[in-house]
Symmetry: C2
Subunit: 341 residues, 2 copies
């Protein structure tokens, strides 16, 4: 235990070891614990704190609910030439993704485009991790999932959609991929919870109260609904994610996942759709010239003073590997308390 008001500095290795042990001691087998620890440490070293080691607490809560399997052996099924399906069998998504990714890559290269359907998984991790890993293998990738119903459709008043993330990565030669990953809600639910704890008002346009009226009160927002980003456009995109990563996969939509959760407030149970595009197959040979032209676009973005979506994250990663990472002291203590000895 440490002074809760002082941050703790951890090396990547220390952070990984702590995360791994917390997960192992709460009933995960070595394979699941390794995959989930790698994921939360990746969030931490990229300074995506909402998907960093903070999520260990949700993992532990989810494990202790008895619903999530820490030993699930995913079942991989070759459904069609362009489609691989992985049944996560009520485990977390990471091991299921690792099992399905090689077939997805092979199929994308053979077919041009291919899809990975992960079903029946508990999910909490940031999708950039998966599309980035695929882009590092030379494919462009899109990933999407529903979540828990917290967001009203544009023009509506009641929670129906999840914060439904949408992620994309484009492979670059000898560089970090171009990667983005955004929630289709205006704000993350965590930001509203934080405002409620600090008794701060919300900006306009974030949420409606339980009667569907615009609100700046975070408590009223938590009892009402969050709003989609970009009004009817973000709302349409969120509906697409519900349909493609829900019924298309034969898996749960956000409002169904929340019903299944039944007040346990653990990670949502649902499916994930990952689509991979193989640039070389599209080019009918080498895509070298196409990669070079893509760099022109990215140069023009940076050249006019705008930022590439993951630029800050990659900078944080370099810093973390060099200097280690600062973990909030109170969070560190909570994580230590979650260790079962």
């Amino acid at each position: 235990m440490t002074n809760p008001s002082q941050p703790v500095r951890l090396s990547i290795a220390e952070a990984y070891q702590l995360s791994y042990e917390v997960l192992l001691s709460n009933g995960m087998n070595a394979r699941h614990a390794a995959a989930v620890a790698k994921s939360v440490v990746a969030g931490q070293h990229d300074e995506c704190h909402s998907h960093g080691m903070y999520r260990l607490l949700l993992c532990v809560k989810s494990m202790r609910s008895g619903r999530v399997s820490g030993e699930a052996v995913p079942e991989v099924r070759d459904v069609a030439p362009g489609l691989v399906r992985v049944d996560a069998r009520s485990g977390f998504s990471q091991v299921a993704f690792d099992e399905g990714a090689p077939a997805l890559l092979r199929k994308a290269r053979e077919c041009g485009v291919a899809a990975l359907s992960i079903n029946n998984c508990y999910h909490f991790s940031a999708l950039w991790q998966e599309v980035e890993a695929l882009a590092e293998q030379g494919v462009a990738a899109i990933a999407m999932t529903p979540s828990h119903a917290n967001v009203a459709p544009a023009g509506g008043t009641k929670p129906l959609f999840g914060t439904n993330p949408f992620a994309f990565a484009w492979p670059r030669r000898a560089k970090h991929p171009f990667v983005f990953d955004f929630a289709t809600s205006v704000a993350a639910r965590g930001e509203i919870e934080l405002a409620a704890r600090k008794d701060q008002q919300l900006p306009d346009g974030w949420a409606v109260d339980c009667n569907g009226n615009p609100t700046n009160d975070p408590q009223a927002a938590l009892g009402g609904a969050m709003l989609p980003f970009g009004e009817h456009k973000g709302s349409a995109l969120s509906a697409m994610i519900e349909l493609l990563a829900g019924p298309l996969l034969g898996d749960l939509m956000s409002f169904e996942s929340l019903q299944v959760d039944n007040g346990n407030e653990i990670a949502p149970l649902h499916g994930e759709l990952v689509i991979a595009f193989a640039p070389d197959t599209f080019a009918g040979g080498s895509a070298d010239g196409n990669y070079e032209r893509a760099e022109l676009l990215l140069d023009h973005i940076v050249g006019q003073g705008a930022r590439l979506p993951s630029q800050r994250r990659f900078a944080a990663r370099i810093r973390s590997f060099k200097e280690g990472m600062l973990l909030d002291g109170a969070l560190y203590n909570e994580i230590i308390c979650a260790l079962r000895v």
Copy 2:
């Protein structure tokens, strides 16, 4: 010719015949003229006026530039099990889409997911027409294209992205598909042009001037850059569209297409990416149960007083088929003048 201040009522058949003759008389062969006439009349009968018969003027201008081929025979190539490529050979996109769609549908059913790459096409039509047609054949579909560079990336100051449309359709049993189609800019360029003509101020957040400063002046906006919807999220989505419907297809991005246009102000030359997902293949048999669950989502949207994205469009279609369509009198005269006799 008619009184320009009075609208003209046309039946669907009359509108089609007029459009067809205008296109034919400007050098299109019967097949191209029929496909393009069908497209502009579809925009008109759905009251999407920006993609209705108004676009005949752009088509004629594009034909008269000598750059667009009105007789191009698209070349279809089976690139990979999940990928069909259609070279439009500098024709408009419609005939190329019609040539590629059957292979796309077959490949999606065989592979689960498949892609259609349309290359080297001049493009002006709304993407909802294509995804809707695919959904009526029982697949879910996404379509996207770059356009001409008019939009600055979030945080930037200079035009780089097009208004890059993104469209999606989900098939429904015995109902119109669920369809949306949006530009990734806050507003359509036509709306800014209209404001300039009427000397009206623009709402905040639509555009920046040539120095990258926010502006409400439509003239300054036209000389500056439009802004993406949803700030960095819409901007990221627009970059994805540039990459996937540009370099992935080996085709032009919006800034390249504008360079090729070289001040001619005709329809943009570029590629289009269409992705189709076969629900029955994903289900490994009949997707009936999945379709039924998808209806629950759509019922919950409508049930809370929100609108489905294309609801107004489908209502307009019914009205147009029953009562005919009103065409602006001045526009009607311009179209008549475009007839070459």
